[in-house]
């Protein structure tokens, strides 16, 4: 007897699971379907199949400019957040120091502050010290909210890289820099890519902070948000958004699959199973 579930309960849970999946995906699919509807209202009635909204956005300079701004902001965010997360994660996993709880609390605090508050406080900061609003001010805010996610992506991976490997390298005479370059960095690399992708995705999609500190160069979500009041522009904006949505689903799935594969490879490289790796790092605590 399975103490977790009865046969009937199992069927019920599977049914509930698939209902939730339908609930989660149906709206997205509806939106994709209606982005091909030859109707300016993005709704019923179904007039006919068209790709003209997709052509239209390619000809729309404002949308392309907004996309370029978003790309710039998200790239800076991904780079900076990942670069800051590497030393922070190493410190959190490998080192002991005074007030560690407070430090990790601060590093993760942006997770629990409402975005509207972050947007307002950055707006007031930039106004107080007189920094003009630009894509760079958006990126500054996005790094703050992406950093905890980048750190939380790297920490588990770092914990599973046995410190013994680094110690062995040092014992054999390698400098700390060489050890980082030849041992830690290659083993950490998959998590680094994940962290960069997550930071990029967070930034590319973020609308609240962006709308407070964007100045006159809107990012794509800010532009999309501003167009919601003008129904006639909506179809082509939705067409772009659908393209982005599909692309982001592909990126997310690919990065998750990549993470899974690299976990397997870490086990292969170190010659230890996942359990051994985690017990090793747990023992080191």
């Amino acid at each position: 007897m399975n103490p977790a579930i009865s046969t009937r309960g199992r069927r019920g849970l599977w049914g509930f699971f698939w209902l939730l999946v339908i609930f989660l995906y149906a709206p997205i699919i509806v939106l994709i379907i209606f982005s091909f509807n030859d109707n300016e209202l993005v709704s019923f009635p179904w007039v006919g199949f068209t790709t003209r909204w997709y052509h239209e956005f390619l000809a729309n300079g404002t949308i392309l400019a907004a996309l370029r701004t978003s790309l710039l902001v998200a790239s800076i965010t991904a780079l900076v957040a990942t670069a800051l997360a590497i030393p922070a994660s190493i410190a959190l996993v490998r080192r002991r120091f005074f007030a560690k709880g407070m430090v990790s609390g601060l590093l993760l605090a942006p997770l629990v502050i409402p975005l509207v508050v972050m947007g307002i406080s950055l707006l007031i900061l930039f106004n107080t010290i007189g920094i003009p609003l630009s894509p760079y001010t958006i990126a500054i805010g996005h790094v703050v909210i992406a950093l905890p996610f980048a750190i939380l992506t790297m920490v588990p991976r770092l914990e599973r890289i046995p410190a013994a490997l680094e110690e062995a390298s040092r014992d054999l005479g390698a400098t700390a820099m060489t050890t980082f370059r030849l041992i830690t960095f290659p083993l950490l690399f998959p998590a680094l890519i994940s962290a960069a992708l997550i930071s990029f995705t967070i930034s590319f999609d973020e609308v609240v902070i962006s709308s407070f500190v964007s100045g006159d160069q809107a990012t794509f979500p800010v532009y999309l948000y501003s167009q919601l009041r003008l129904p006639e522009r909506l179809p082509s904006v939705i067409a772009v958004a659908v393209v982005i949505l599909v692309m982001s689903i592909i990126v997310v799935v690919a990065s998750e699959v990549g993470r899974f594969v690299s976990e397997r490879r870490l086990e292969g490289k170190t010659g230890m199973s996942a359990e051994e790796l985690s017990s090793l790092s747990a023992g080191k605590g």
Partner: protein, 308 residues
């Protein structure tokens, strides 16, 4: 690079290597910490100072004045008002309802994935989470296409003859219901994560022990599984509750006038009425609320559950 050079200098070559010198830790932590102090802590302090007029920024600002706080605490935005119910409490109720709904929807799914699904559990978990990682605005927008009077549901009902040609379902769009439905939709995948992690780390032998000692499955669930997964449930609850209190995007897209929330008045005080100080006072108030919540629930929060 420079950080690692520090590591080399700091670690003595002889004897047992000391692992925790202040210099290395400083080298590793200084830049990330500086970033957060400059662009996260300092700004929050500035908002606090600004809300009482220690500094002024735009022409409507009042120097050294508690007026923003008085306005906020006495107006209908907070507690008073003609109906006796302020927007803040409306938002609290909304966030509470959304968080509880999300937990109830996500728990069975997390339970199924963690304890029943077997080897496919990570793939299936990914299926649940992927929507959360796609465009937030777009998912909200999708509901506008579905719920609005010319939308999929109402037009569908009209063509099926259930709804008359000139009839609308008023509660479905530009309503509190719409905000509630869409927020729950948006946050459900995220809630599933911490609950899944809590259930997955459960020792199955304990469930077997419980059943060997004669407990029914329901008793096992009530006395063993549920209590042991509570940290995940609380984490899930807090991680939905906090971001939704300040939410203004969803109410603006599907809420209409009746779906307006606290976040909307904060946003409007900056974007429309240019009463920045009032908006700052309300932001600070939100921070207090969050701080209180964290003080109560903080020890249950295992943020790692969100990432793994």
């Amino acid at each position: 690079m420079a950080i690692e050079a520090d590591v080399q200098q700091a670690a003595p070559r002889t004897g047992r290597r000391r692992r925790g010198t202040a210099k290395v830790n400083l080298g590793l932590l200084s830049v990330p910490m500086l970033w957060l102090v400059l662009f996260f802590l300092v700004p929050v302090v500035l908002v606090a100072l600004y809300s009482v007029g220690v500094l002024t920024l735009i022409q409507y600002d009042e120097y050294l004045s508690l007026k923003p706080w008085r306005d906020f605490l006495h107006s209908s935005i907070y507690l008073g008002g003609p109906l006796g119910r302020g927007l803040f409490w409306k938002s609290m109720k909304m966030s509470l309802g959304v968080s509880i709904t999300c937990v109830f929807l996500a728990y069975p799914v997390a339970y199924m994935l963690a304890l029943v699904a077997g080897r496919r559990k990570y793939t299936l978990l990914l299926v649940i989470i992927v929507p959360f990682l796609t465009s937030y605005l777009l998912r909200v927008l999708a509901w506008r296409v579905i719920l609005n009077p010319q939308g999929v549901i109402q037009e569908g009902l009209r063509s099926a003859g259930v709804l008359g040609a000139d009839q609308n379902i008023a509660w479905m769009y530009n309503s509190i219901f719409a905000v509630y439905l869409v927020l729950a939709y948006v946050w459900v995948p995220f809630v599933a994560l911490p609950i899944f992690v809590a259930l997955e780390s459960l020792d199955l032998h304990m469930l077997e022990a419980s059943s060997d000692l004669g407990a029914s499955r329901w008793t096992t669930f009530r006395r063993v599984t549920l209590p042991m997964s509570m940290p995940g449930v609380i984490a899930a609850f807090v991680f939905v509750f906090i971001p939704t209190i300040g939410e203004y995007v969803t109410p603006q897209i599907v809420g209409g006038k009746s779906g307006l929330m606290f976040g909307n008045v904060i946003q409007a005080s900056f974007a429309q009425s240019f009463d920045w100080q009032l908006g700052s006072a309300m932001s600070m108030f939100l921070i207090f609320v969050v701080a209180i919540l964290l003080a109560i629930f903080g020890r249950y929060l295992n943020v790692r559950a969100v990432a793994e």
